[in-house]
């Protein structure tokens, strides 16, 4: 019976993974998946249109799901198609999240006018956009670290609206219902039109209507070129590989070459097919366009295709679910069927970790970088490292404690990572001083591993304290196992955080001319090393025993959280990336929670349920 249940649990996990691995299917007749795989150059990197759609939605509203006023649920790439080709419809989709009451008041909107009381459509916001722009401009003159919530909210919302407008001009001139015909007509009438313009400039008799038409088109293309910042048109044959252009820039070339760029024509054709709901034509154009790109851009097509597949598989969400399942099974195993459920939990954790590994490896391949390149990837890696340590611990101790810790840490770090992904594309380019694969692979990975280990020791200690004070299950053997686990992990943490900090110093010496500069992030890492060393020395001195070790290890969580996030919030120093109120509140809440657990752990040992004298 218990064997059957544990097998079923593992099969559930495998089913989740298999589901994620299914290739994407088109929701309707249009080959939107094929459209989503088309490569473009944005933010310095070649990526699929699918990523553009998903990161925009995450940025606007924190999630990828869209619900239209008539109840449809378009996938992100369908939403992007509407934004580009049917803007009047898209303006009615409620995708902009506004929760700050002062900002709502600025728009004279009630929260109830938004979907889920917080999502609003562009059409609802248009009447007061000028007012928002004014407020955002004033707010952006204030340093970001000291802005009030209202100021931060206006700047963020305005940025999102600008981004949205830019998307509209990315593929065609927004709002033109028959752009393809316009472009073809332009090509036909071009020689005559140019002759008319020349005649006018020479003061000769000319066709005024033709001249006006030329200038109008030129202006339209110019607006497109200046507004869009996604480079959609691949470089011409023989040009440098990075010379992608916006559609507007490519269309302006028409006046020089007499030919409309075939890529621009393709997108205009797609627009027409989408607008007239002609799926067959849409799919045909996609097929032809892709075949055309195969010749010179096969590797880019390959990479964007993989990235689109990666987006759709969403390995980290799958991993998150598996961690939760593993945690529940592990905790249950403490109560009944320890062997069978313990093994099932271990298998599920292993599965979750493997999925996360594949996810991280794919990101590394897509970016061409070592695993940790920004805050988001540091969260992923901390989770990965901690869980790896837990799997090793569980292999030796086999009491489902390390598995439970793995579930908690894995889940928590993936939640943190998700929140960090809301700022935009997480596969971002590295700034000049960070552009060194060697140091990213050594310093950043090692110091992040040190963070993982310190967190892991803290969470194992929390298990000790909670089990010891609230239950009778902390018997001598379990307490002993936990103590040795925590001690071992702290030794590991000392080694890695120290080595990582030192590597950082060497990198700084190569880059900035000094080994140590007392930068907040450097200080944060130093504090972790000092704390770990302090625990070890205090133990060797006999100043602390089991309970003291656990309480100090929980303290390590506070120090590491400060070093990981707190130092970024000060707004000074070389590592300062950004401050948000939500992050600050989360940090404070976390610190208070850890202090509370330490307080519980400091109760006299006779008050602990596990150590209380038995009646």
């Amino acid at each position: 019976m218990k064997k059957l249940i544990s097998v079923l649990l593992v099969l559930t996990g495998l089913a989740l993974v298999a589901n994620a691995l299914r290739p994407a299917r088109n929701p309707g007749e249009f080959d939107v998946v094929g459209f989503g795989r088309l490569p473009v150059l944005a933010n310095g990197r070649i990526k699929p249109l699918d990523t553009i759609a998903r990161s925009a939605l995450l940025q606007f509203q924190g999630k990828q799901a869209v619900v239209t006023p008539d109840g449809r649920k378009p996938v992100p790439i369908e939403w992007l198609l509407d934004v580009c080709f049917r803007p009047d419809l898209a303006d009615g989709y409620q995708v902009f999240e506004i929760v700050n009451p002062d900002v709502l008041a600025l728009f004279e909107l009630q929260a109830s006018a938004g979907r889920d009381n917080k999502r609003f459509a562009f059409a609802q916001l248009t009447p007061k956009i000028a007012e928002l722009e004014k407020q955002a401009r004033m707010a952006s003159q204030v340093e970001s670290a000291v802005r009030t919530p209202f100021q931060s909210a206006t700047v963020q919302l305005y940025g999102n609206l600008v981004h949205y407008q830019r998307l509209k001009y990315t593929l065609i001139s927004s709002g033109r219902n028959n752009f393809l015909n316009e472009l073809l007509a332009l090509q036909d009438k071009l020689p005559a039109g140019i002759a008319a313009v020349r005649a006018k400039q020479a003061g000769q008799p000319h066709d005024e209507a033709a001249v006006n038409a030329m200038f109008e088109q030129g202006e339209r293309f110019d607006t497109m070129a200046r507004t869009a910042n996604i480079l959609v048109i691949p470089p011409p044959p023989g040009g440098p590989a990075e010379a992608w252009r916006t559609v507007g820039e490519a269309l302006l070339e028409t006046f020089r070459t007499g030919q409309v760029s075939p890529h621009a024509l393709a997108y205009a054709g797609l627009a027409g097919a989408w607008q007239s709901r002609n799926a067959a034509q849409f799919n045909k154009i996609i097929e032809l366009y892709r075949n055309g790109l195969e010749q010179r851009f096969a590797s880019q097509l390959d990479k964007s295709g993989t990235e689109a597949r990666f987006n759709q598989a969403d390995p980290f969400t799958v991993s998150m679910y598996l961690y939760v399942l593993a945690l529940l099974v592990a905790v249950t195993s403490w109560l009944i069927w320890p062997e069978a459920l313990g093994r099932a939990a271990f298998a599920l954790t292993g599965l979750a970790w493997t999925v996360a590994t594949v996810g991280i490896a794919t990101r590394m391949w897509l970016e061409g970088r070592p695993p940790v390149t920004n805050l988001y990837s540091s969260a992923l890696f901390i989770g990965w490292g901690s869980v790896a340590l837990c799997l090793a611990l569980e292999y030796f101790f086999r009491n489902a404690i390390a598995t439970a810790a793995a579930g908690v840490v894995g889940f928590a770090t993936l939640i943190i990572a998700h929140h960090l992904s809301l700022g935009g594309d997480t596969l971002e380019m590295m700034r000049a001083v960070l552009d060194s694969n060697f140091w990213l692979a050594t310093h950043v990975v090692v110091v992040t591993a040190g963070y993982s280990a310190t967190f892991l020791a803290g969470f194992l200690a929390i298990i000790y304290v909670l089990r010891g004070t609230l239950t009778r299950s902390l018997d001598a053997r379990t307490a002993d196992s936990l103590t040795r686990m925590v001690y071992g992990i702290i030794c590991f943490a000392t080694l890695f955080s120290f080595t990582g900090t030192v590597l950082g110093g060497i990198w700084a010496d190569q880059s900035w001319g000094r080994f140590w500069g007392w930068d907040p992030k450097e200080n944060g890492a130093l504090m972790i090393v000092i704390w770990n060393a302090l625990i070890l020395h205090a133990r060797w001195d006999g100043l602390i025993r089991q309970r003291g070790l656990m309480n100090l290890a929980i303290g390590g969580n506070i120090i590491t959280a400060w070093s990981w996030f707190g130092t970024n919030m000060l707004g000074v120093g070389l590592h300062s990336y950004g401050f948000t109120d939500a992050a600050f509140m989360a940090l404070i809440t976390f610190v208070v929670s850890q202090l509370a657990i330490i307080a519980v752990g400091s109760l006299p040992l006779t008050r602990w349920r596990s150590f209380a004298p038995k009646p």
Binding site: N43, F397, M429, F498, W512, G513, N523, L534, H537
Partner: protein
Amino acid sequence: MNSFLAPLRSFFTSLTLTVVLLALSLVLVFAATLDQVNLGIWAVQQKYFHSLFVLAKVGDIPVPVFPGGYLIGGLLLINLVAAHFYRFKLTWRKAGIQLTHLGFILLLVGELMSGLWQESYTMRIVEGQTINYSEHERDFELALIDTTDPKVDEVTAIPEALLRPDETIQSPRLPFRVVTRLHYPNAALARRSADSTAPATHPATAGIGPQVALTPLPVTYKDSERNLPAVCVELQSASGSLGTWLVSPYLDTPQSLQHEGKKWTLELRPKRAYKQFALKLHEVRHDVYPGTEIPKNFSSRVQLTTPDGGEDREVLIYMNNPLRYAGLTFYQHQMDAGKKTTGLLVVRNPSWQLPYISCALMTVGLTAQFLLHLAGFIRRRRATPAAA
């Protein structure tokens, strides 16, 4: 003798002292990090780390409130060395820890030396320009230059620290005394019209001084801002005063005067360190990723030459790739590609290898210790049956 030394020895070799010092250092580092928001990194270093005590102002009196970096670091050093002498025996099992501690001692000593002796200057070069000196980041000097001989300039430089009000400086190199009448550590200058009836804000009577209005500013601690001082000096020759002159780094061109047939110029400029070589800037590059403003690369292509012709080569300096020459290291520090100017950071740190050596020692030591423990742990696990 023994009864006096014994408690002293046990205090300095005790592990409890180590734990206490580590705890104190943690608090110090945290407090310093928070204070950086107000004071900027350089001032925080002076206040918390390059000091014996952290001072807080009670009214007007600075009061020591917490041990500073030198005290804690020094005690840790003594604690470590003493413990090694009296307690540690040379065995394989402790070799890892001993190596680690040895490395740590070296690290502390190295940081102490850096704190005392490391100097950093910058070289700001415009494309096409050749420069053979570097400028200090913070200190200024009053440069009095005898320009009579068209082929040679004789420079007498007085550090700003000596220019205190009513202080007189007399030097055999100068035919006049320099008496400081006014000194502001940070000030702003503004043009003053010739017929302005507003009262003079400074005692300058000669040169450009009368056409300038001077406003003292509070000293700034922000890392992104600089303090630009202003000084008024009266030049008194044997035959009478040559006037009171206002000097400030704001003034682009030096002011000139003549005395006893010799031509002089004076200016307040960043303290210079002249070099035995020169750098000429050929090209600066500031590359961004296509379609973005994200910086991809900063680089300066310079020509390194010496007057005796011994060196004449082209060097490319970019992020993570400095130039090392003549005991100095040149880093790509700042750049204004629009103005075709590069800012190189020039660092002389004779003890720069110490952190590398000490970190190597500590890493080897910690790894050895860790592996030793891990091996023992695995052996013990194998000996006992696995937990059910």
